[in-house]
C-alpha cells in the first residue's frame, strides 16, 4: 500500500482510507485513534478462540455471551466523541 500512497499522493488517499478502515492519517484525533484501537482489539479477541475462552473463564460468563458483549462494545468502545469547538 505504501507504494500506492507514494506515487498517487493525495488524490487516492481518501479512497484508500475508505477502503482500509482503521488506517490513520495526519489529522486523526486522539478519540478516533483510540476508538480504532479498541475496535481492532475487540475484533481480534472475538477472532481468537483462546482469548474468548480465557475471558469467559475469568468473568464466569459463557463464550457466546463474551463474544456478544465484545461485538456490542465495538459500536462505541470509548464513549461518545468529544464536542467539537465552534471555531
Amino acid at each position: 500500500m505504501s507504494s500506492e500512497l507514494r506515487y498517487t499522493a493525495n488524490t487516492q488517499l481518501e479512497h484508500l482510507h475508505a477502503r482500509y478502515t482503521g488506517t490513520g492519517h495526519a489529522d486523526l484525533t486522539k478519540y478516533d485513534w483510540l476508538t480504532h484501537q479498541h475496535r481492532d482489539t475487540l475484533a481480534s479477541i472475538v477472532g481468537h478462540p483462546t482469548l474468548t475462552s480465557y475471558l469467559a473463564i475469568a468473568d464466569g460468563e459463557s463464550i457466546g455471551r463474551v463474544k456478544f458483549e465484545m461485538t456490542e462494545r465495538m459500536l462505541q468502545p470509548c464513549g461518545p466523541p468529544p464536542r467539537k469547538d465552534e471555531d
Binding site: G47, D59, G64, F68, P80
Partner: protein, 1213 residues
C-alpha cells in the same frame, strides 16, 4: 539454545462442529474444529460411540466452518474460514483418509483482523454460493458450481460490503431455487461516532439486512433492511422454498432472530412473531439479567422441521413454527432438556445430538423423543397481542419453566477433553511408577475436575478369576478355521496343561485330544479343522474327529521352543537343532527331511502369519544364546538356509514376526517387522526386507527391567504385538501409523487374544495366579485420565514438599458462595416467599449455579490426595472473598515450619481490577498435611495475584508492588517493597537472592534482594511488552515464559551482568544506574521464541523419562500439552531445521496459512523447530519422502528413526 517443539496431546476444546456426509457414504460424519486442528468424527449408529477417523493440524487458526452440498450431490464439502486471509474448500477423501484442499482463494491479509473476512460463514442451503464475512464491513460472496467434468468450481468474489457496519452474525436464507439470499445482523456506527451527546449511540439500530445474489447479473444487492431488536445476537435459518416435485412449501423461509430474552421470527414483507425465552424460576436468579441464546440448530425431517436453541445456562429449547404454506401461524417455544453449554450443536439423521461443549467433555446424546407430548408449558406467539409485536421496545412478560433431568435425550457417549487447563504440574507421586504423572486442574464452574494423566492406554477388565496354580502361559484357540469365536482357553503349568472351554460359562474339559500331563509350548488351530499342541516331548496333531497324530522327539532330547502358524510348525530341540514341519494339501503335517543344526542353544523362534493366498511364509527368525538373531529361509528352494544374521547386545528372550501397516514405511501394504525382545528389557524392532530377507532399520526401546515376552495378538481385527516386561506395552496401528504405548494395568506374565461373544475384541492375560480378560477401549489415546470433581473453577494448585498431598484453590466469578446463598434463601423464606426446594437443590454440575452480579465470588481451598484420588478437606471462603494465589512457605522466624499462605481478595471486580481489600491468609498444616489450621490474615491494598516463599520469608506480588513479608503473631509484617511494576504481578520465580517477576502486561523482570541494606531492586527487564501467563526458571540466568497470545519464549540475562549484580553487596550500584528505555538498567535477550497457538497456562521443567533429559512441558488453555526439547548437538539442529524447511514447502497448511508466519504470529520464530510439522513427514507420499531424504543425504528410514528417537528419548511417548 535450540528447542524442538512437540505436542504430546493436541488441543481438545471444540470451537465449532459441523455435520454432513463428508465421505459421500450413507453415514453422516462430524467435522470439529479444535482451533488449530480439524478432526473428523464418525458416530456409530448401532453402538452410539464416536470414533475419530482423522485429525490433522492445520497450522493456522480456524475461525469458522460450514458444510455445503452442491445441488443434486450426495457428498458434503467443508468450507473453512481462518486467519489466513483465504477461503478454503476441503474434501474428505475416504480412500487416503485425509482432507484434500479443493480450492484456496486469497482475498485479504492474514491475521484475525477487523475488516478481513473469515469470522463468519454462511452457505446457501442449495449449495450454490457461500458468504464469508468479517467483524466489520467486509462480506464476500463466492458462487459455487460444477464444471463439465463435475468438479467443484468457485467464482471470483462478489463484494457485499457496507462501510462502518459491525456484523453480529450472518446466515443463508432458505429460498428454494430463487436467487440465493443472505441475512446479516448489522449495526452502523457512523452516526454514533459523530454525535457527542450520545443520543445517536442510544438510538443506534440493529439492522436485519437481506443481501441477494443475482445469479443472472452476477451481482450482490442489498435487498431489504429493517431494524430489529437492539440486543439481537444470533440468526437461525428457517426452511423455505418449494419442493421440485410438488408445489408445497417446505417452510415459510426467513430467519429466527435470537435476542436477549426473546426470539423473533422475521421475514421480508411478513408479520413478525415474538416469544419470550423461558427462564428458570430460581429464587436467587436476578430477574433483570438478560438471557441469550448461544447455540442453535435447525433440523429438517420429512415434511417438518424444528429448532433446538440453547441458552447460556445450558437449557435447550425446542422451537416450532406452525405455518400454512408461506404464512406463519405461530411461533412456539418450550423447554426441552438441559445439557452443558455447547459451542455447537449437531443433529444427526440417525437420531443423535452431538453437543461440542464450550468447556470440558463433549457429549453425544440419543433422542428418546422429541418432547411433543409432555407437560412442559409451551409459549406461543399467538397468546400475545399482535403475535408479541404490539410494542417491540417493551419486553414480553417473563415466561418460566422448571429445569429437570434429561427426559428427551439420553447420553450415548462422552469424549474426554481437558479444556480448559488452568494449571498443571508434573510430578512423580504414585508409588511404583518410574515416569512422572501430569496433574491438571481443568474445567470451568461446577463441571471442573482435577485430573491425573498417565502415559498409557486405558484397560477395561471384564473378567478376573483365580486359578489353582501359577500358569506360565495362556492361549486361546478356535476349533475350525472359519469359527467366529474362540472355543478353548489352554493354560500351561509347570507340570501339566489345563483346557477350558468357552461357552455360557468357562469350564474345564478333558476330551479335547490335548495332552494334559505335560506343559505346553505352543497351541495352534492348524489347517481347516485341526488343532495342534506342542509339548516338550512331541507334537500332537488333533484332527477334527479327535484322532491324534503324534510326532515324538528323539530319545534324550526335548523341544525347548516352538513357533507355529496356520500351515507351518518349527520346533527347536535341546540339541540346538531345528525341525521344520509343513501342512500338505491333505492336511497332513510333514517333517522336512533335514534338521538344521544351529550350533548354539535356541532361545526364541518366530514365523509370521501365512500371507493371504499363499502356502507358507518364507522366513523364520531364530534367536540363539550366542546373542544373535538369524533369519532362516523356509522357501522350498532353499529350505533352512541362513539368509542373514543380526548381532545383539544381550541374549534374546522372545522374537515375534508380525506384518503390520505403517504408512510411514509403506502406504498400502503391511510391513514385515521382526521384534526382538532381549533379556535386559530392551526391544529391537527391525524391518525384514521381503525380497532378500535382510534386516534393516533397527530401532530400540527400553521397556522395563524384566526379560521381554512378545505375543502377536489381534486388536480391532488388526495385528498387534503385546510386549510384556516390568510394564506391558502394546504396539498397534492406528490411523495407518504405528503406535507403541504402555498399558495402565497390572503386569502380565503372558497374554493372548481372546474372542468370545461377550468380548469379541478382547485379550486374555495371566498375572501370577489370576486370569484376566480385558479390552483396550480407547486406541489412539496416549494419556489415561483419572478425575476428581471440584466445586468451582480451579485457579492454582501446589504440592507439599514432604507429603504427597496437593493444595488447590478454586473460585468462580458471578457465583454466590454457599453460605451467602443460604443466608439469602433464609431471608427470602423469612420474608414469606415460597422457595421451590427442588429447583434450589438441582445438581450444579449439570445445571450450573444461578448467575449473580459481577463482583460476587464463591471460592475455597481444597486438599487433594492424588494417590487415592480423593478430596481430603475443603475450606470455603466467606464474605465474598476469593482466592487467587497460594504458596507453601517455611518461615525462618518460626524455625522453618511450613505454612500455607493464600492470597485472597474481597469484593473483587475484574474490569477495571479493584477490590475492597486483599488478604494474605496464613494457615498451619495439621494432621501431617491433611488439614489446615487458620492462623491470621493480613490486609493488603490490592489483589495478591502471586505469592512465593523466599529465603525463609514470603514474597508477594500485590497488584503493582512486590513486597517481602515476614511472619508475626497477629499478622504478616511487611519488610520491603518495590513499586516500579507497570500493571500487576502475576508470576514469581526464584533462585538464590534473585526473583523473576512476571508482570501481567510488561513481561518478565529480574529483581534482586540485597539483605544487608534490605533493598528489593529490579535490575533487568525485557524489551518487549508481553502479557505473561506462566513462567519458569531454566537456570540462574535463563527464564522461559508463556503469554496470553499463545507465544512461548526464553529470555536470558548476560552472565557478566548477572555476576556484576551478585558482586554488588548493597545494591547501591543498581540503585544509581540509569535506566534504559524507561525501564531497568539492563535488558534480557530473547533466545527462543515460538507461537504454539494456545494460551500457555503453565510451564514445568521436568524429565519425563527415567534418566532422560530435562524438557520444558507446557499446557495450553484449550487442552494442549506439549514439550520443548533442547537439542544436544549442532548436527541435530542443522538436520532437523533443514527437514523443517523442506516440510514447509511440501506440506502446506490446510487452511492456507504460511507456516513460518503462523509460528511467528507476533514475533518471528527464533531457534525453535516445529516437531509437529516434521512428524508429518511420516504421512507424505513415498516419492516426496525419498526426495526430501535425498536432499538431506539420508535414507527415509534414517529420517523417520531420527524423528522417533527425538520423541522417545525426550518424552517416552
Amino acid at each position: 539454545m535450540h528447542l524442538y517443539n512437540l505436542t504430546l496431546q493436541p488441543p481438545t476444546a471444540t470451537t465449532q462442529a459441523i455435520v454432513g456426509n463428508f465421505s459421500g457414504a450413507k453415514q453422516q460424519e462430524i467435522i470439529v474444529s479444535h482451533g488449530t486442528r480439524l478432526e473428523l468424527l464418525r458416530p456409530d449408529v448401532h453402538t452410539g460411540k464416536v470414533a475419530t477417523i482423522i485429525a490433522t493440524d492445520v497450522f493456522g487458526s480456524i475461525r469458522s466452518l460450514a458444510a455445503f452440498r452442491l445441488t443434486g450431490g450426495t457428498k458434503d464439502y467443508a468450507i473453512v474460514g481462518s486467519d489466513s486471509g483465504r477461503i478454503i474448500i476441503l474434501d474428505y477423501d475416504p480412500k487416503t483418509s485425509s482432507f484434500v484442499k479443493l480450492h484456496q482463494e486469497t482475498y485479504g491479509k492474514s491475521g484475525a483482523r477487523r475488516i478481513v473476512p473469515g469470522q463468519f460463514l454462511a452457505t446457501d442451503p442449495k449449495g450454490r454460493s457461500v458468504m464469508i464475512s468479517a467483524m466489520e464491513k467486509a462480506k464476500l460472496v463466492y458462487i459455487l458450481n460444477r464444471d463439465a467434468a463435475a468438479n467443484l468450481t468457485i467464482s471470483s468474489p462478489l463484494e457485499a460490503h457496507k462501510n462502518a457496519a459491525i456484523i453480529h452474525h450472518i446466515v443463508g436464507l432458505d429460498v428454494g431455487f430463487d436467487n440465493p439470499m443472505y441475512a446479516a445482523l448489522e449495526v452502523d456506527y457512523t452516526e454514533s461516532d459523530q454525535d457527542p451527546t450520545g443520543e445517536a449511540f442510544n438510538n443506534a439500530e440493529k439492522m436485519l439486512t437481506y443481501y441477494e445474489l443475482d445469479l443472472g447479473l452476477n451481482h450482490v444487492v442489498r435487498k431489504w433492511s429493517e431494524p430489529t431488536d437492539p440486543r439481537a445476537n444470533l440468526l437461525v435459518q428457517v426452511p423455505g422454498g418449494q419442493l421440485a416435485s410438488s408445489d408445497r412449501f417446505d417452510g415459510p423461509s426467513g430467519v429466527l432472530v435470537c435476542c436477549e430474552d426473546h426470539i423473533i421470527y422475521r421475514h421480508m414483507d411478513a408479520p413478525q412473531h415474538r416469544v419470550p425465552i423461558p427462564r428458570r424460576k430460581h429464587p436467587l436468579e436476578d430477574p433483570d439479567r438478560g438471557l441469550i441464546i448461544v447455540a442453535a440448530v435447525m433440523h429438517k425431517m420429512k415434511g417438518a422441521f424444528f429448532f433446538l436453541l440453547q441458552s447460556e445456562d445450558g437449557d435447550l429449547y425446542k422451537v416450532n413454527i406452525e405455518h400454512d404454506e408461506e404464512e406463519v401461524k405461530s411461533l412456539k417455544i418450550k423447554y426441552f432438556d438441559t445439557i452443558p453449554v455447547a459451542s455447537s450443536l449437531c443433529i444427526l439423521k440417525s437420531g443423535f445430538l452431538f453437543a461440542a461443549s464450550e468447556f470440558g467433555n463433549h457429549y453425544l446424546y440419543q433422542f428418546q423423543k422429541l418432547g411433543d407430548d409432555d407437560n412442559e408449558p409451551e409459549f406461543s406467539s399467538t397468546s400475545y397481542p399482535a403475535f408479541g409485536m404490539s410494542d417491540p421496545t417493551v419486553p414480553l412478560p417473563h415466561a418460566y419453566f422448571r429445569p429437570r433431568g434429561l427426559d428427551n435425550l439420553a447420553l450415548a457417549d462422552e469424549l474426554e477433553s481437558l479444556d480448559p487447563v488452568i494449571d498443571a504440574k508434573v510430578m512423580n507421586i504414585l508409588p511404583n511408577s518410574d515416569t512422572p504423572q501430569i496433574f491438571t486442574a481443568c474445567g470451568r464452574g461446577a463441571r471442573s475436575t482435577f485430573r491425573m494423566l498417565r502415559h498409557g492406554l486405558e484397560v477395561e477388565e471384564s473378567v478376573s478369576s483365580d486359578l489353582p496354580g501359577i500358569p506360565n502361559a495362556v492361549w486361546t484357540t478356535k476349533r475350525r478355521e472359519d469359527d467366529e469365536f474362540d472355543s478353548y482357553i489352554i493354560l500351561s503349568f509347570v507340570n501339566g496343561t489345563l483346557v477350558l472351554s468357552i461357552g455360557e460359562t468357562i469350564e474345564e474339559v478333558q476330551d479335547t485330544g490335548f495332552l494334559s500331563s505335560a506343559p505346553t509350548l505352543a497351541v495352534q488351530q492348524i489347517g481347516a479343522d485341526a488343532l495342534l499342541q506342542v509339548h516338550p516331548q512331541g507334537i500332537r496333531h488333533v484332527l477334527a474327529d479327535r484322532r491324534v497324530n503324534e510326532w515324538k522327539v528323539p530319545q534324550g532330547k526335548a523341544i525347548v521352543s516352538a513357533t507355529t502358524n496356520k500351515r507351518q510348525v518349527v520346533v527347536a530341540l535341546s540339541s540346538a537343532e531345528l525341525v521344520y514341519f509343513e501342512l500338505d494339501l491333505d492336511g497332513q503335517l510333514n517333517e522336512y527331511q533335514d534338521r538344521k543344526a544351529m550350533g548354539s542353544t535356541v532361545l526364541a523362534l518366530s514365523v509370521g502369519e501365512v500371507p493371504e493366498g499363499r502356502q507358507r511364509t518364507p522366513y523364520l527368525a531364530v534367536g540363539c544364546e550366542d546373542q544373535t538373531v538369524r533369519i532362516i529361509s523356509l522357501d522350498p528352494e532353499s529350505t533352512l538356509e541362513t539368509i542373514s544374521l543380526q548381532a545383539l547386545t544381550a541374549p534374546p528372550s522372545s522374537i515375534c514376526i508380525a506384518d503390520m501397516l505403517d504408512a510411514s514405511i509403506n502406504k498400502t501394504h503391511p510391513t514385515m517387522f521382526v521384534n526382538i525382545g532381549l533379556q535386559n528389557g530392551v526391544l529391537l524392532r527391525t524391518v525384514l526386507d521381503p525380497v532378500n530377507g535382510q534386516l534393516t532399520d533397527t530401532r530400540t526401546r527400553f521397556l522395563g527391567t524384566r526379560p521381554i515376552r512378545l505375543v502377536r495378538v489381534q486388536i480391532q481385527r488388526n495385528p498387534a504385538i503385546l510386549a510384556l516386561s516390568s510394564r506391558s506395552w502394546v504396539n498397534y496401528t492406528h490411523q495407518n501409523l504405528m503406535h507403541f504405548t504402555p498399558l495402565i494395568f497390572e503386569n502380565f506374565d503372558y497374554a493372548w487374544s481372546f474372542s468370545a461373544e461377550l468380548s469379541p475384541e478382547g485379550l486374555i492375560g495371566i498375572a501370577g495366579s489370576t486370569l484376566r480378560i480385558f479390552q483396550i477401549p480407547k486406541l489412539g489415546t496416549k494419556l489415561k485420565q483419572d478425575a476428581i470433581p471440584l466445586s468451582y473453577t480451579p485457579r492454582k494448585f501446589i504440592s507439599h514438599p514432604t507429603n504427597p498431598y496437593l493444595y488447590l484453590i478454586e473460585g468462580d466469578h458471578r457465583v454466590m458462595g454457599e453460605a451467602a446463598a443460604a443466608t439469602k434463601l433464609d431471608d427470602l423464606r423469612n420474608a414469606g416467599h415460597r422457595i421451590d426446594e427442588e429447583v434450589v437443590n438441582l445438581a450444579p454440575e449439570i445445571f450450573g449455579r444461578p448467575k449473580a452480579p459481577a463482583g460476587t465470588w464463591a471460592s475455597g481451598i481444597r486438599i487433594i490426595d492424588p494417590v487415592e484420588a480423593k478430596t481430603l478437606a475443603t475450606i470455603s471462603l466467606d464474605n465474598n472473598e476469593a482466592a487467587f494465589s497460594l504458596a507453601i512457605v517455611s518461615f525462618a522466624a518460626r524455625g522453618g515450619e511450613l505454612h500455607l499462605v493464600v492470597g485472597t481478595a474481597a469484593d473483587t471486580f475484574l474490569s477495571p481490577r479493584s477490590c475492597k481489600s486483599g488478604y494474605l491468609r496464613t494457615y498451619k498444616f495439621t494432621d501431617n498435611g491433611a488439614g489446615l489450621e487458620f492462623m491470621h490474615k493480613t490486609e493488603t491494598d490490592d489483589v495478591p495475584l502471586a505469592v512465593m516463599g523466599f529465603q525463609g520469608r514470603l514474597v508477594v506480588g500485590v497488584g503493582k508492588s512486590l513486597r517481602i513479608y515476614d511472619i508475626g503473631k497477629k499478622k504478616l509484617l511487611r519488610k520491603v517493597e518495590n513499586k516500579t511494576f507497570a500493571s500487576a504481578i502475576v508470576t514469581l520465580n526464584t533462585q538464590g537472592s534473585r526473583i523473576i517477576v512476571g508482570d501481567m502486561q510488561e513481561s518478565l523482570s529480574f529483581a534482586v534482594y540485597k539483605a544487608p541494606e534490605n533493598r528489593l531492586l529490579v535490575f533487568a527487564d525485557d524489551t518487549q511488552p508481553r502479557w505473561i501467563t506462566a513462567s519458569t526458571m531454566i537456570d540462574y540466568t535463563t527464564v522461559a515464559g508463556g503469554d496470553r497470545f499463545g507465544n512461548i519464549f526464553v529470555n536470558r540475562l548476560d552472565t557478566k551482568v548477572s555476576e556484576q549484580i551478585d558482586d554488588d553487596p548493597t545494591g547501591a550500584g543498581i540503585l544509581h544506574e540509569k535506566g534504559i528505555l524507561m525501564g531497568a538498567p539492563h535488558k534480557t535477550k530473547m533466545i527462543c521464541h515460538f507461537h504454539i497457538g494456545d494460551l500457555v497456562t503453565s510451564i514445568n521443567k521436568i524429565s519425563l523419562v527415567a534418566g532422560g533429559r530435562e524438557v520444558l512441558l507446557y499446557t495450553g488453555l484449550h487442552g494442549t500439552i506439549g514439550i520443548l526439547v533442547p537439542f544436544v548437538s549442532k548436527e541435530d539442529v542443522d538436520f532437523i531445521s533443514t527437514l523443517e524447511q523442506h516440510m514447509r514447502t511440501e506440506q502446506g497448511s490446510l487452511v492456507g496459512r504460511d507456516h513460518l508466519s503462523w509460528r511467528g504470529y507476533y514475533t518471528p520464530v527464533k531457534a525453535v523447530v516445529d516437531g509437529d510439522l516434521c512428524e508429518t513427514f511420516a504421512r507424505l507420499p513415498g516419492t516426496k519422502q525419498t526426495a526430501i531424504a535425498g536432499e538431506l543425504d539420508r535414507s527415509v528410514g534414517e529420517v523417520l528413526k531420527k524423528l522417533e528417537q527425538l520423541r522417545v528419548t525426550a518424552s517416552g511417548f
